[in-house]
């Protein structure tokens, strides 16, 4: 296990280096002077020159990258061009809201998807299966930002049950915080729920054909126990991997959710810095997002091995 972990983390390093190259190259994507791109063509020459100096743009590209990477490795992602705050600090400040939202989204998705996936698989071919499957297809196709707006219209403006914005930190006001989380989590979670439902249904249908399920039935176990104890447990394994792969999409989706519901999270930071052309923040955010995605995938792999004892995290090749 330890050997596997070390190897797995070592494998992340070259990928992160490549991500850093991508993040660094962003600013050099457009032909011309990056300082001019940031400041706009009408900026006075002195300002452009000052920014060039500040960002070290006068040095050769490879030197720029090396020095950027060097400070990044020490946790220094540079400073925001807008308010001179360290980028790392800005990201860390915005993280709790996004993490909370991600957790709630995943909760919403699981609470909907697990029963629905099991039910549609067990009642395969019935009207309930058809309705559930169509609902999953709808959930997968509905743009979550539109769903968010519709939810605001119904639950905030018409029924006045839930707030449409006004995020407060949990420790400041737990009740207000939780209430403000419901709509965004449902809006983003609907799609995740749909995807997980479809995976779980397919996976469970496969498992229900297995010999050990027949054996369990043959030895007289109740259908409930056969499904829940034997089948679902095994069916959840591929679903877990699939949910891990969803994390990148989820993180991207949260960018829009945070904009709709004005949640001061990581995604909102990216959107704001994009409109302010605050490139160091954008670069730092890209790097950080990739790190988060890779960490979650690593965690999923570890959980995977714990759930399924058949999977040995071998340290050898091909694990």
């Amino acid at each position: 296990m330890l050997a596997y972990l070390v190897r797995r983390i070592a494998m992340m390093i070259p990928i992160l280096l490549l991500v850093s190259v991508i993040a660094f190259s962003l600013i050099h994507l457009v032909p011309g002077d990056p300082a001019l791109v940031i400041l706009g063509p009408e900026a006075p020459m002195e300002t452009v020159e000052a920014l060039r100096e500040q960002m070290g743009l006068n040095r050769p590209l490879i030197v720029q990258y090396a020095s950027w990477l060097g400070s990044t490795l020490q946790g220094d992602l540079g400073r925001s061009l807008v308010d001179r705050q360290p980028v790392a600090k800005l990201i860390v400040q915005r993280l709790p809201a996004t993490m909370e939202l991600a957790i709630f989204t995943f909760l919403v998705a699981t609470v909907i998807a697990v029963p629905l996936g099991i039910y549609t698989a067990v009642k395969r071919g019935s009207v309930a299966d058809w309705v559930g499957s169509v609902a999953a297809l709808f959930g997968q196709s509905i743009p979550h930002f539109w769903l968010g707006i519709m939810l605001i219209m119904l639950f905030s403006l018409n029924l006045k049950w839930l707030p449409s914005s006004g995020y407060v930190h949990f420790w400041e006001n737990p009740k207000a915080n939780l209430l403000a989380m419901i709509l965004p989590a449902v809006a983003t979670g609907a799609r995740e729920a749909a995807v997980i439902t479809r995976y779980l249904r397919a996976s469970l249908l496969e498992v229900l054909k297995a010999d050990y399920v027949r054996t369990a039935r043959a030895k007289g176990l109740g259908e409930r126990i056969v499904i829940l104890r034997h089948a679902v447990r095994n069916a959840l394994i591929p679903v877990l991997t699939a949910s891990g792969l969803q994390i990148a999409g989820l993180l991207g989706g949260l960018v829009i959710t945070e904009t709709i519901f004005t949640i001061p999270g990581f995604g909102r930071l990216i959107v704001d810095s994009i409109f302010q052309r605050d490139i160091p923040v954008v670069q730092g955010a890209v790097l950080f997002a990739a790190l988060m995605v890779m960490t979650v995938n690593l965690l999923v792999d570890i959980i995977y091995s714990l759930v399924d004892p058949r999977i040995k995290l071998a340290s050898g090749k091909g694990a």
Binding site: A23, L205, G253
Partner: protein
Amino acid sequence: MAEPMVAPPSPAAPAASEQSAGRDLWRRFRKNKLAVFGATVVLLLILMAVFAPVIAPFDPINDYDYAAALQGPSATHWFGTDDLGRDLFSRVVYGARNSLSAGVVSVGFALLVGLPIGLLAGYYRGVWDEVVIMRITDAFQAIPFLILALAMAAVLGPGLWKAMLAIGIGLTPAFIRMVRAQVLAHRESDYVQAAKALGATDLRIMFKHLLPNIAGPIIVQASLATASAVIAEAGLSYLGLGIQPPDPAWGSALRFAQGYLTIAPWMSYFPGAAIFVTVLSINLVGDGLRDMLDPRMKNS
């Protein structure tokens, strides 16, 4: 979108039965009522986009009428009017042009780049494949697609073409991986070996022999990716990074509608419903194609 679609090699269809195979596929597709429904709606949407000037009763940009601003749906304005008194139905009709072309162009880009790279990587394997290409796709896939697109839009600036490019780049790694996996599953097949023994060049084997045999999963992935691309484009325009006003786009229409939720709720009903219907129909077609091209996946 991230579903693995590695089908085991299927034998190459002999040329003589190609026609009947095609007919058989069509029969299988036709049996799937939902897929046929989806395909019909997609076709109607394409017609709507092409014939927008004929269908739309008003000019989507220039026909503004402040006296008629923020009116609910009526006989003249089926979907109501916006804050400038423009006809929302006309704007939704014209918006189809942008959304559909965003879907097609960005997936086209991903295919154009991903297909050859995936073919070469899977066919030649070696250091280039495992060390360079796969790690680069790993890196791109670690960055959330929408965040990458946003970051690129930050540098390139907003606009439809730039949004399409950003989405295309975001979709490409998945195509590289899928094509490569398919090639790996097929490269040792008898028909490839036979072609090799007959002295076919590598390029000929890749494009004439392998490609037709792995076309099924590629078509399925392309159709499902089109649905993702339409949503992504709408998301970018919602954030203000896609098509710029006054040009009509479904995503940006939602952005402006959000300012009028209490006084003009219809402004957000129709553009969102248009995105939903489009994505749903494309997904139905994609699912139908999957059932048709890979019957083992049926009911999954």
